[in-house]
């Protein structure tokens, strides 16, 4: 997964400097970007607009009921059809983007934050601290992620914040484990050993060598994690533990439509499609970044 140590040791990088610049592709590089990544970019851009300014993309008021136009199948007037109370499903999916993304991004942010704290400490500290933290992570990993999240929602009630925290907490142990492993690998690599032999101060080694190299795969992990956490939050909502109605958060839409699945397929398929499309697009972009960072495509 990581590059050969010797190659990296020749080009010591910092995360904020050269590293970030390498992310921004040159004009040449853009030509090598596959069409799928562009398509994914367009999709993500669409959802970002939907999250920030939903009214720009909406065709109807997402909360307006119409008791005389319930359960209509998709048409030119209602792209995604209407729900049980006659609300326009497309506009509701657009409206729900903000909340779904907030939950996805918030949860992954929290998750990575906690994971960094625990993972880096375990990866850099001495053997005892590492052992203690690792066992702690083992215990947390023994619980199914969903269980932790369920417990949290049950105790604190279902709001956007508790969903973020519960999903974030649920995912953190897995990431922490990964980060710890990454730091251990880099810490024991040849170039770090070389830097030590050259007499560099430890703080500088961590800052210049260990941290940037250990963190690189994480950036990919984050992009993929966003899609995953959205699916997660949706599962919670599907279990009836999501945000309160009439919120059109994507998982809540799935939950509301499930009793109608045999008579109004669009109530499940359309929000599900939005979730898949977004998760897939973010993953495609993440995958591409990973490939570039690992040198599988020309930067």
């Amino acid at each position: 997964m990581t590059k050969p140590a010797d190659q990296l040791s020749v080009y010591p990088q910092t995360l904020v400097g050269d590293q970030l610049l390498r992310f921004l592709p040159s004009a040449d590089a853009l030509r090598t970007v596959p069409a799928t990544v562009y398509a994914a970019g367009v999709v993500v851009a669409f959802f970002l607009v939907a999250a920030v300014a939903p009214s720009l993309l909406q065709t109807h008021d997402p909360f307006r009921t119409d008791l005389y136009a319930t359960l209509q199948s998709p048409s030119l007037d209602h792209f995604f059809g209407t729900d049980q109370s006659g609300r326009d499903l497309y506009s509701r999916v657009v409206q729900g983007t903000g909340q779904s993304l907030a939950i996805g991004l918030g949860a992954i942010g929290l998750s990575i934050g906690i994971a960094l704290l625990v993972g880096v400490t375990a990866g850099l500290a001495g053997r005892r601290t590492d052992a203690a933290l690792s066992r702690f992570l083992d215990v947390l990993l023994a619980f199914p992620n969903l269980f932790l999240a369920l417990l949290f929602v049950a105790v604190f009630g279902a709001t956007t914040t508790t969903l973020i925290v519960s999903v974030g907490l649920g995912c953190a142990p897995g990431y922490a484990r990964l980060i710890r492993g990454q730091f251990l690998v880099v810490r024991n690599s040849g170039y770090v050993e070389a830097a030590r032999a050259l007499g560099h101060p430890y703080g500088r080694i961590v800052r210049q060598h260990i941290f940037p190299n250990a963190m690189r795969p994480l950036i990919v992990m984050i992009t993929m994690g966003v899609g995953q956490t959205i699916v997660w939050a949706s599962s919670l909502a599907f279990l009836g533990l999501g945000v309160a109605p009439p919120s059109p958060e994507w998982g809540a839409l799935l939950d509301a439509g499930r009793n109608y699945v045999t008579v109004a397929w669009w109530l499940e398929v359309m929000p599900g499609f939005a979730i898949i499309l977004f998760a897939l697009s973010v993953t495609v972009i993440g995958q591409h970044l990973q490939d570039r960072l690992e040198g599988r495509v020309n930067p």
Partner: protein, 541 residues
């Protein structure tokens, strides 16, 4: 709109029977013995003994009551074979059926019934029966068992609904031996003298009820005396609507509770449908009259006008549940005033006018009305997924949207089931509206809902906090009036007072609907609070 269900939606055994018979008139004959009924229910109660009506449905299978109420409202014998009432209506003397035993072998006589009464009315909260106490505690002077087959109830003041409430599940008689073991044990494995006994309760999954082979105490409403025809019931808890209905379609269940609205039309074609509209209070919004904005009757009336509740109920339930605009009493309670269903029709103009008059004329940029800088916000707390089904929650969302046009900001706040029953987050300052129901046979429920606070003790069942002295006087007088016409008038005046003041806004009654495979015969739903009866049920070949 013509609603075929209307024909079914009556509280009478003959109607339900007629339907079942019509389904296969040719196959009618002697009931076959054997078989186990796999029944898919919706909600699981926290305890199998008394309390919530969800426990009452199960209790009807394993316990007997002193008296029964037929679906026309007459009180008929059950454990009591006959009774006399003194001229002053203060002394009731019951003759108890001989040779009845509980399923643990304990003898069921007047002393056992007396033991139950004493326990229900106990001052020890660990023993007391909250519902029983609420209804009769204040009236009971003394209860005694002069001989093993005679029970005497003496009252301190007349209480006309006494026999009616004694027929309700929370007055079901349990084995004193089992009750001695304490509340926890009795919740888990209650023991009565009914046609079935609780064999196993696997929480979250099912209750297994087995046939009581010695059953000899069926009520006069039963279709047959003696033990049940089937060997038992597996009472499954299938909370997911699609799953529950699917279990009927796949043959995994012989009968299910509550057909999901979306399958209503289809179910009527393929299965035997039995529906009973439950009495008592319907599901209605109780508006908090103790706080602004609903301390102003005009704002309450405006709120009642903002939504097309009739259409919303029809859309959300696909016509499977009728509209009950009279928020004070269910349409199946004999005393209900039908004209009150049409009070407060959908009329945004009237709502706007009332709000302007009440001083809520300013609006913020979102269109929410303001008064003295405060927004017209209604926090609507509800027990989502327990007291209110998903279909019912949709009614609230429609109401929320329609209220927006008139300038109400309605905030829906679902409360988990356990918190709801614990009263958590539901103090007087926590809400402006709360939808809920309370089952009963008839107007005797008014006493529970509208008793005013006494001696600093808040009546938590009066979530409207509406308690004018004249209302209590009407209800209290009615409860001790034995002249039927006069009592009816008093109960009806009470309903008018409640509805005209918009203390509650009616939505729909609780219903008990069973969809059964056509081969399952003679399941019926009993008054007083729509309990399913499997004692007479049998499987056709």
């Amino acid at each position: 709109m013509t609603r075929p269900v209307r024909r079914l939606a009556v509280r009478s055994i003959p109607a339900a029977m007629a339907l079942a018979l019509a389904a296969s008139a040719a196959a009618a004959g002697e009931p076959r013995q054997g078989g186990i009924i796999r029944y898919g229910h919706y909600q699981e109660p926290p305890c199998l003994y008394t309390g919530w009506v969800q426990a009452g449905y199960i209790q009807r299978q394993y316990a007997d009551n002193l008296v029964a109420r037929d679906n026309d409202g007459n009180i008929v014998p059950w454990l009591a074979t006959s009774w006399t009432v003194s001229n002053d209506n203060l002394t009731y003397t019951f003759r108890i059926k001989p040779d009845v035993k509980f399923t643990d072998g304990t003898v069921l006589d007047a002393n056992a019934i007396l033991y139950n009464f004493n326990r229900w009315l106990s001052d020890d909260p660990a023993k007391a029966n909250r519902n029983a106490k609420l209804y009769v505690a204040e009236y009971i002077r003394q209860i005694s068992a002069p001989d093993p087959l005679t029970l005497k109830i003496e009252l301190s003041k007349p209480y006309q609904p006494l026999l009616t409430v004694l027929a309700t599940y929370f007055f079901g008689i349990l084995s004193p031996t089992a009750l001695e073991k304490g509340q926890e044990a009795i919740c888990e494995k209650p023991i009565g003298s009914g046609p079935f006994y609780v064999d196993e309760w696997k929480r979250g999954q099912y209750v297994v009820l087995k046939r009581n082979p010695d059953y000899n105490s069926a009520p006069a409403t039963a279709k047959h005396q003696g033990p049940a025809h089937v060997d038992g019931i597996v009472w499954k808890f299938l909370k997911d609507n699609t799953l529950r209905y699917g279990s009927l379609q796949s043959g995994e269940s012989d009968a299910i509770y509550d057909v999901p609205a979306v399958y209503w039309a289809e179910a009527q074609k393929n299965y035997t449908i039995i529906q009973d509209i439950t009495g008592g209070t319907p599901t209605r919004l109780q508006l908090n009259t103790a706080r602004p904005p609903f301390d102003d009757v005009r704002v309450r009336q405006a709120f009642a006008h903002v939504s097309d509740r009739r259409k919303a109920v029809e859309v959300a339930t696909h016509g499977s549940i009728p509209y009950n605009g009279n928020g004070s009493l269910s349409q199946s309670s004999p005393e209900h005033v039908g004209a009150l269903h049409d009070s407060y029709p959908y009329d945004p103009a009237a709502a706007n006018r009332l709000l302007d008059e009440a001083g809520w004329s300013a609006r913020d940029r979102n269109g929410v009305r303001q008064k003295d800088g405060k927004p017209l916000t209604v926090r609507l707390l509800y027990a989502g997924g327990s007291l209110l089904s998903a279909d019912a929650t949709l009614v609230l969302q429609i109401l929320q949207d329609q209220a927006r046009d008139v300038g109400f900001e309605v905030v829906l706040k679902p409360i988990p089931q356990a918190d709801w029953f614990a009263g958590k987050g539901r103090t007087v300052d926590d809400y402006e509206a709360q939808p809920a129901y309370w089952v009963a046979s008839s107007a005797e429920i008014l006493k529970i809902s509208w008793r005013p606070d006494e001696g600093g003790v808040i009546n938590a069942n009066n979530a409207s906090r509406f308690q004018p002295p004249e209302l209590w006087k009407l209800i209290e007088t009615a409860d001790r009036t034995f002249d039927d016409a006069e009592r009816l008038k008093l109960y009806q005046d009470a309903q008018r007072l409640i509805v005209n003041n918009a203390a509650v806004v009616g939505l729909f009654p609780l219903t008990f609907t069973i969809a059964a495979q056509p081969k399952l015969r003679d399941v019926w739903i009993s008054s007083p609070v729509s309990e399913p009866v499997f004692h007479d049920a049998w499987f056709e070949e």
